[in-house]
Amino acid sequence: MRKYTHKTHNSDDLTILQMRPASQVMQLERLGSFHQSRLSFMRTLVRRMVAENWQISSPVFDLDEQGYGTVVYQVEAKYGTFSYVLFSHYLDPDNRNDRVIADQWDLTMGLCEGTVDAEQLDFLRNNVPKQEAGRVDSRVLVLSRANRSARTFEYVVNELAHGHQPDVDVIAEVGYLYRTTAAYGSGKLGMADWEKVWTKHRDFARPFAAEMFTCYMLRHFSMQQADHLASQRAPKSAVALDEDIKRYIGIGNSTGLGMAPFLINHPLLINQWIEMRETALATVIAASAFGVDEVILTRLDTATQRVIQHLSEIITTDERQSNANLLVREELQLLHLWLQEQGAVLATKHYVWESLTQYAELHWGVETQEVINTLLIELYPELVDRLEEYMWVDESHQVSPEMPVAELLEVIEDKYDWALAIDFSKQESIGTFWYRSAEKMEPRLGQTNIDMGMDKEMPLGIGRCVRECYDRVYDYNQTRSKQNVAHFIVQNPTYSGIVGRIQTMAQSRYGDIRENLVHTDVLPIHLLRCKLSFFGVSKFDPRSRLWVRNTMFQGAPLISDFGKLFVDDWQFPIKPVLTSG
């Protein structure tokens, strides 16, 4: 049931939107079922690059016959010039490791402001390949690294060298030539702080825009390197990669627990992302108030069939994901039939999208529901795309020290009822703890009372912290009900952090993620997928409950497409049907 209302961001438009409630949206399983949308950062970046016709050249392309060396791409964006500096190294296959604990990679890259002279290039060459062990300066916006796919890279180069295009089925099985394993920004390792990025560089003044661009350029290089190697090996017979295959090649990504703390430590930002996505959904549902155009129904049907094909082309060994994909396909098939049979009637029906989403909520799985929501958002770019400007928020917490402690209790009971409903006296409710390993500070999970490190637990169990705070405030209120939060904090200073969080998040629409993250059976993979969906990845392939492989920019336009007519519908990529050779 949609019970909250919300005005749109356009002051001229006083439409009252029916927003989904936090109790529905903020369940971890649902967040872990989200897919890329028009508001995802890769999508907005690509729209911007294509529309603004960014010019990308390579003043340095110094690769040897084995593809090792240095490349500098110069990027002329709308508001500034940037340099994407890449180092390609030999890597013993035995040392190829996607984990954060790795210390060698096939490629290392940095995105820098301005142009790069010989002196800076030397400095970067001495530091970028070291990644976390190196130090850069505030001219660098992003550091990243990548490893070759053992399954596709050599295969593609060999095929091209022999004058053939690679088999699309082989590409489909993997989806990329390189996997990126991290993209660091926002002041880490000496880089420019986010404050600098968003105040000085308008081209990247959105969350993760610079990081996503770094991955996009990696994709471009991966295909350029494959072409280069093929022509080096067989100058007479080699062919260049087909453009349609290029568009179908993305960048692989492995994401593990390192991403999970971000979602817990940036609750206001996550709330903002989710609120914008939900605003988009509510907006398109409202747009069907008086029926919908038959063209839109046809587009939905076409997109539905594409998702069915997309999911059928995903190869995953994860049984849960495999079953989920199968179920989504079956349920989307029913949607397809419904659209085919009822199309003419639906066009005139009031609030058809509300009927559809409510039907899906009653009869279909969460993954299918969220696919449908994503598809609906796709149908109305003119209503949705403006929300991309609101994906950032000031994240400072604000304590309301004057709030009476009795009112704080009421706030907790109202906004954190989900946390108070958890029985933390049960062993399984506190069966897991999070900690950082001395091995490159990697976040890891431990079993309570079994593994080492409980005394150094990371404070990610927000539900448990809220429960402890509530109990303390409750006791305090018994004897000092006239006092306020400021007094409570002076008497109980260790609760200042959680009180500030509760008061801050209580004012947000969606609040904290509603899950006990220290439960024995917690599924961190849902956290990862939620964030990755806002990045804009596709083809989720969980490798365990702790890490997931996925694909970035698969289906996206190429640099050669910039400035051309562009239909922004590259989500849910499917195998291309080659028109040549």
Partner: protein
């Protein structure tokens, strides 16, 4: 060091703001760490309270630990009345308080704070809604406890200056650090980053290592192997 999430977020904000705005907070932080590193966190005690006045005892600790409590306490009183005064006694690293005042000023509170520094008195004023304070150093003419900090809070800066005028009488102006200078420092920090000397970096690194858990083959499984 035993800082809790609320403490360390606030402390980090104080240090970064001070350093980026030209107050050499890294030097102060180095001194603070030398002390904080040797003791469990000590928070302030509320030792005196009436309708418009508070006295908090910092018990020899740093403003990094008790600055937020002090500012929250006084502004909770101002919301209920028109003005309030707070004295934080027995505390160190008082310059760090400025960031808390700047943040609170964004919620429409005005502040004047002062403390003794050697033979002078530092006075910091910020109007409600202002983004930067006025920072001045005067000759001292009054008896001032060496490790105390006085905060006066209201919603109007001129009204505070008037109401608490007897307690804000100082000698001649020695120097001031203008808002323009602070902003220049800030812009320079954003553009070029901030330098951390080797000793402080090493200290922070050593402190950070305390929260890390030794890696074992078994623990690697807890990250996805």
């Amino acid at each position: 060091m035993g800082f809790q999430p609320g403490d360390y977020y606030d402390a980090a904000d104080m240090v970064v703001w001070s350093q980026t705005h030209g107050f050499d907070s890294f030097g102060r932080l180095m001194e603070a760490l030398a002390y904080l590193n040797t003791t469990a966190p000590i928070h302030a005690d509320l030792v005196q309270e009436d309708r418009h006045n508070y006295v908090l005892d910092g018990r020899g600790s740093s403003v990094l630990l008790c600055g937020s409590e002090a500012v929250d306490l006084i502004r909770s009183q101002v919301i209920q009345g028109s003005s309030a005064a707070l004295e934080l006694i027995n505390c160190y690293n008082r310059t760090f308080i400025i960031q808390r005042l700047v943040k609170a000023a964004q919620c429409n509170f005005a502040f004047v704070t002062c403390w003794r520094q050697l033979d002078c008195c530092v006075k910091v004023s910020i109007a409600a809604g202002a983004e930067l304070p006025e920072y001045q150093t005067f000759r001292m003419i009054d008896v001032f406890e060496p490790q105390s900090l006085r905060i006066f809070c209201g919603t109007d800066l001129e009204a505070i200056e008037t109401q608490y005028a007897p307690q804000l009488e100082f000698g001649t102006l020695v120097e001031s650090f203008s808002r323009t200078e602070m902003m220049d420092c800030y812009k320079n920090s954003v553009e070029h980053g901030i330098e951390i000397d080797e000793a402080l970096w090493q200290t922070l690194d050593d402190l950070g290592a305390r929260i890390l858990v030794e890696s074992t083959e078994g623990s690697r499984a807890g990250a996805g192997d």
